[in-house]
């Protein structure tokens, strides 16, 4: 295994090296640092040209410049964006976290959403639901991301901000959303006509009710979760997790999940106290999450029984979900303060930049600010790439459902839930490991446009401006980082594959 990884790593470095040579040569042709001077009418044009040639070593042959660049690069000096005179290292220190945040968040959400819907669509093959999902995913796939981004900016951001300032409820839209939700759940669950009708009525009423409550009670203006919301969601999560991963027959697993939920609700009170007295940081958050996971595992272990692992898994999942809920709840508690801050002026949904400059405020306000800025670009990226995952996962699931071992699992008398979750899903998720890296690369490409439109000072934007301004150093760094990320993604995929597929594990 180690030898295998070492070989892959060596290969990746080799590819990166060749990539750097080719890109440098290509950029040497594609960039024209003298373009503005060529048409410059000023009398001392030759001097200016000479100066610039000297500054950029343009009199040297390209391979000398490449070697110089490589020498600096391996020492960690990434050069300079010469037009603005900013060192690339300085740009990167803010650009990298910004981009990673964006791409990472949207990749995770797209995978979760896409995979779930793809699986359901495959299970409901040849139904209206399946056709609708197919159509929607094709539509998403065909959407140009810059077009979607502009639309989001215009409608979602401006519309939502306007609503927050001047609430007027459009009941047509509420009804429409409820209708779509009703149809969605009917399609996803299916069954006999009577069951369908029941599902539709429930889903319609629930959606309509929640929306109406949110709009009428002013929740949209002052979003919060509160202890009641946290409790309800925690218990619901415990229930769903038990149904999916253990089955309701396994009373211990259900007990463990519910205990984890209750403990989490209790922890909410403790956290309020903690958050009030202690200034928080990301490190604290991570520490608390680890603690929550440990507590979850302990609860599962204590419930024990023959299937200790199942109980522990359920409790840990619930703990994670509850932790995230508590975090979000606390972030939203700052909403009132945030939207009334001078720089926000009651228009909290941001359309530009990754953060509000000169905002001030504590940890929670910063988180909220980051969240409002991430909202639109993330939605844009998710909309585009979620379609790929849906299509892919649907195909993989259909393929697996036709396998002989699914028939065997049914012939053993396993409940359909286990046939799907344990036998089909496990196998259908494996090929995902091979498309995630590819899609991750595509996502970085998509981020270039998203960052341009939303004026995020990320790496993609750095690339676009540098390319337009013929600055070679930032582009080279961008290429190397992107290529490196792609290599890492591929390595992780190989590694994951080897871990989850026993057939590969042994050969490696």
């Amino acid at each position: 295994m180690l030898k295998f990884l070492a070989r892959r790593l060596g290969l990746a470095l080799g590819i990166l090296f060749v990539l750097s040579i080719l890109m440098y040569l290509l950029l040497d042709v594609a960039l024209d640092p003298l373009d503005d001077l060529r048409t410059n009418p000023s009398p001392n044009r030759p001097v200016m040209i000479a100066n610039r040639v000297a500054m950029l070593e343009l009199d040297q042959p390209v391979w000398v410049r490449y070697l110089h660049w490589l020498g600096r690069f391996v020492q960690g000096n990434f050069g300079m964006a010469w037009r603005s005179g900013q060192p690339v290292n300085a740009i990167l220190s803010t650009a990298i976290p910004t981009s990673i945040q964006l791409v990472f968040a949207s990749t995770v959400i797209a995978i979760l959403l896409g995979v779930t819907i793809g699986v359901v669509s495959a299970l409901r093959q040849y139904t209206a639901f399946d056709y609708a999902i197919t159509f929607v995913s094709f539509l998403m796939y065909s959407l140009p991301i810059f077009w979607v981004a502009v639309l989001l900016k215009q409608f979602l951001a401006i519309g939502l901000n306007d609503y927050i300032n001047e609430p007027t409820i459009n009941w047509m839209i509420v009804g429409g959303v409820a209708l779509v939700s009703g149809l969605f759940w009917v399609g996803a669950i299916g069954g006999e006509p009577r069951k369908k009708l029941m599902v539709f009525v429930c889903a319609f009423a629930a959606t309509f009710g929640v929306l109406a409550y949110a709009l009428l009670s002013g929740w949209v203006q002052h979003p919060s979760i509160g202890i009641i919301g946290v409790s309800l969601m925690a218990l619901a999560t415990a229930f769903v997790v038990s149904v999916l991963f253990a089955g309701l027959n396994n009373r211990r697993a259900l007990g463990a999940a519910l205990t984890a939920a209750v403990v989490g609700i209790g922890a909410w009170y403790g956290c309020q106290w903690l958050f009030f007295y202690v200034e928080m940081s990301m490190l604290w958050m991570l520490g608390l999450l680890v603690l929550a996971i440990a507590v979850g595992a302990l609860i599962g272990w204590l419930w024990g029984g023959p299937d200790r692992a199942v109980s522990m898994r359920g409790a840990v999942i619930v703990s994670i979900v509850v932790s995230v809920l508590v975090f979000i709840d606390r972030v939203f508690q700052g909403w009132q303060q945030y939207s009334q801050m001078g720089t926000i002026r009651g228009r909290p949904i941001a359309t530009i930049g990754a953060e509000t400059p000169g905002l001030g405020g504590d940890f929670w306000i910063t988180q909220l600010d980051r969240f409002t800025h991430l909202l639109l670009p993330t939605i844009a990226l998710v909309l585009i790439s979620f379609a790929t995952y849906t299509r892919y996962q649907r195909g993989a699931m259909l393929e697996v459902m036709n396998q002989d071992y699914i028939r065997t699992a049914r012939s053993k008398g396993l409940p359909e839930r286990l046939v799907i979750v344990r036998h089909a899903l496990r196998n259908a998720l494996m090929p995902l490991a091979s498309i995630v890296p590819v899609d991750f690369i595509a996502m970085i490409g998509g981020a270039v446009i998203t960052e341009t439109i939303f004026s995020w000072a990320g790496m993609g934007r750095m690339f676009v401006t540098s390319l337009a301004q013929s600055e070679v150093d930032p582009i080279m760094v961008y290429v190397m980082i992107t290529g490196g990320l792609a290599m890492v993604a591929n390595l992780i995929a190989d590694f994951l594959y080897a871990v989850i597929d026993p057939r590969i594990r042994v050969d490696a």
């Binding site: 139904t127 094709f138 065909s142 810059f146 077009w147 049914r410 690369i441 270039v448 676009v464 792609a486």
Partner: protein
């Protein structure tokens, strides 16, 4: 070893030995020394009974191409895509002409500015919006300098379609060549070619595309080209861009062709051709490529849909097509600031990008189903229910077991 499974949902029923009885019985010309055995084995009306017969019937007397066509036309989404794409192509060619041929639309020069009519609003009226149907003078409105937007959008559509086709063709030629050489010869050549593919795949296409687009822009300046040369380059920008983008988008196709060739190599008809003394060239072109064509065509189609959005995105970033050429992406980029005041400048080009990409996607999906031998028409739940009622009516006394 043999697959004796006789389940009708799994592959190959029509091709498998199952069809033996049906096919033999339907052809009385076959002479055989084992006549009595034959007679006994094919006795009692082997027509329309036993598993597999249904499928055999479906494909009787059709060539591979005809089967694919029939399956494709059965795919509703593909049909929709085909009709929409044809309609769009026809509309843009008829109105704006093709190359030097003039079209029928009154504003042929989309660069010409004009007087603003009614604030540049679209004059197109559709019946359901009230006011009946009307095309008017500027159905899609006018842009900020008063040019006819319909002419602009239709020219942009032509550019998109043109880029799409050229790009698909370029990528196909490169990808199929590299993939088939790699898959057929394997060994060292394969290693080198695949590492090269890995190299290209490492960067997002958008990044490479942007650099190459910029290169096309810079080269004439750097080389101090004459004005005439620059003009010629500018006029052929869509072509150049499409070829250049094709040169980076072939990777997926090469990998697919390679893996298809690797699996085709294991098929016995390739060995059979080799035993017959066919050359490598003949085996590749006559035996393997035609059999890989299904996969190739499907993926070229899907690649084309990517091409449409990629070209638009590059033009939007200003690394793609430049004026005086028109592109849908460029139209959106030029007019995104005007969204609040003149939203139609934003809607129309976006609508056509989506329609083209969506149609091509659906066509690709239809082709995939049509070429996939495993695709079967599986009845929907509703059809099954109706059929079950029929069955119940025929056997009123019997209980009926639903299938899993």
């Amino acid at each position: 070893m043999t697959n004796y499974d006789d389940s009708p949902v799994r592959g190959g029923a029509a091709q498998g030995p199952q069809a033996e009885q049906a096919a033999t019985a339907s052809d009385p010309n076959i002479a055989s020394d084992l006549a009595p055995v034959d007679a006994a084995l094919t006795a009692d009306g082997a027509t329309g009974r036993g598993e597999g017969v249904g499928q055999a019937k479906e494909t009787e007397g059709l060539s591979q191409g005809q089967i694919v066509r029939a399956r494709f036309l059965r795919h509703r989404g593909a049909l929709f895509g085909l009709i929409t794409l044809s309609a769009i192509t026809l509309m843009s060619v008829l109105t704006m002409g093709l190359g030097p041929i003039r079209g029928l639309w009154k504003y042929q020069d989309h660069t010409r500015s004009g007087d603003m009519v009614n604030g540049g609003e679209p004059s197109l009226r559709l019946p359901f919006a009230g006011g009946g149907f009307a095309i008017g003078d500027h159905p899609f409105g006018q842009d900020s300098i008063g040019s006819d937007y319909f002419a602009l959008v239709m020219s942009g559509v032509q550019t998109s379609l043109f880029v799409m086709l050229v790009l698909g063709l370029t990528a196909m030629i490169i990808g199929v060549t590299i993939g088939s050489i790699s898959g057929y010869y394997r060994g060292k050549i394969d290693m080198v070619l695949m590492r090269f593919t890995d190299l290209i795949i490492t960067l997002p296409v958008l990044i490479l595309g942007a650099v190459l687009g910029r290169l096309l822009d810079v080269i004439p300046i750097k080389l101090d080209a004459t004005a005439a040369q620059r003009e010629a380059l500018k006029a052929n920008m869509p072509l150049l861009l499409a070829v250049v983008l094709g040169m980076i988008l072939w990777t997926g196709l090469a990998r697919l062709t390679r893996s298809e060739f690797l699996s085709l190599r294991e098929r016995e008809f390739v060995d059979s051709a080799r035993v017959a003394g066919a050359s490598d060239w003949r085996i590749i072109t006559k035996h393997m490529l035609p059999n890989a064509m299904g996969v190739i065509i499907v993926n070229v189609t899907l690649l084309m849909s990517v091409a449409v959005t990629l070209e638009a995105a590059l033009s939007f970033l200003n690394f793609g097509i430049k004026p005086p050429n028109v592109s849908l992406g460029l139209l959106i980029a030029d007019n995104q600031g005007a969204f609040a005041t003149r939203p139609w400048l934003f809607w129309w080009p976006g609508l056509f990008i989506i329609l083209i990409a969506l149609s091509v996607n659906f066509i690709g999906d239809g082709l995939r189903d049509a070429f996939d031998p495993r695709t079967r028409k599986i009845p929907s739940d509703r059809a099954m229910k109706k059929a079950a009622r029929e069955l119940a009516a025929a056997n009123p006394a019997a209980a009926i077991q639903e299938a899993k």
